[in-house]
Amino acid sequence: MFAMIIVSTMALNANRFIQINNQTLIEGQLESQVVAYAQDIIEESRALAFDEETTYDNQGNSIVPVNIPTGFSFLGPDAGETDRTQYNDFDDYNGHEETVTINTVDYFVDVVVEYVETNDYETYTVAAGKSTLKRITVNIESNFLKKNIGGANTAYNFSFIRSYYAD
């Protein structure tokens, strides 16, 4: 009887060990894809103009608003920009949400863009109004990436701060 209890305990521990192994394997695989996709969005947003008011004219020259930063636009997509292919400036990604399927795994993506304070180099708190710094944060989750088995999805956040003057 005692031997059976010991062996049963061993079997249960082994199963737990294997389950943890499998979970770690899957997490490792999917997390590298999460990082890659977040980088895709950040790189893409950086390729666009800093602001709707600084987009390019027909000659390819960047327009400069008279007053900086108050002349910048409000965050989010502008009129007529209904999907990602129509975005033409950095903050158009604010509020962007999509579910992307990569190798049969669904990832839920949402993006936030905010103006941040220019004199707070430690925490970059959100600015009350407009500023010359914008921060993009890409949040990604997947049903295969959970904090605990059966628990909530792990939220992966990736941020990048862009300066109007350092463009």
Binding site: M4, T24, Q33, A36, I102
Partner: protein, 199 residues
Amino acid sequence: MNFGIVISYVIAAFLTITIITITYTVGFSNQEVTTTLMKKNHSQAIQQILINDVPKIGFKNMGIVEDMFITATTKKISFKADLDNDGDVEVIIWEYKPDKAPEHAKNPHVDTVTRTVDGVETDITVGITNFVIRYYDTYGSSTPMSTPISSSDYEDIVQIEFEMELQSDFSLNYRASDDDNYVTTSWRKRFSPVNLRPN
């Protein structure tokens, strides 16, 4: 024979079988983990080279290289860039060769990718089973440009996506009768190189 002894033998046999099975299963799981980590390391090594090369497309000191693309197909991309910032523009070629299996490969699906910099070719033979290159003419588009891309359309390219799949060189089968099961890892990334920006 004493009934108690028979029962004891049965229980002992059952326990022995259980312990052997557990040992085998844990060993197999460890083998899976190790092989997956190995493949992930291989994949990351290739990713790092791509991340070094692709964002520099068209780069040269104090300017942008004219006619930066030479070839753009799903299996091959060649472009110009001053990779090491030494003032000389190099020609870089990434090519997937699905018909060229590495000599050591035991996995029949494994092919070769070559990276060539100014004529110096390096074979990448770490278990690549698929390598696809896609080109986009609009940021965020889900529809790639049709390939091969003609030279007149090179200037329309704004994003380049790489997708690759790697498999282990040997199969991991729980039972000898199982079909060949290779550990697979895949990665997809879309680059938005600075020098491809329309403005």
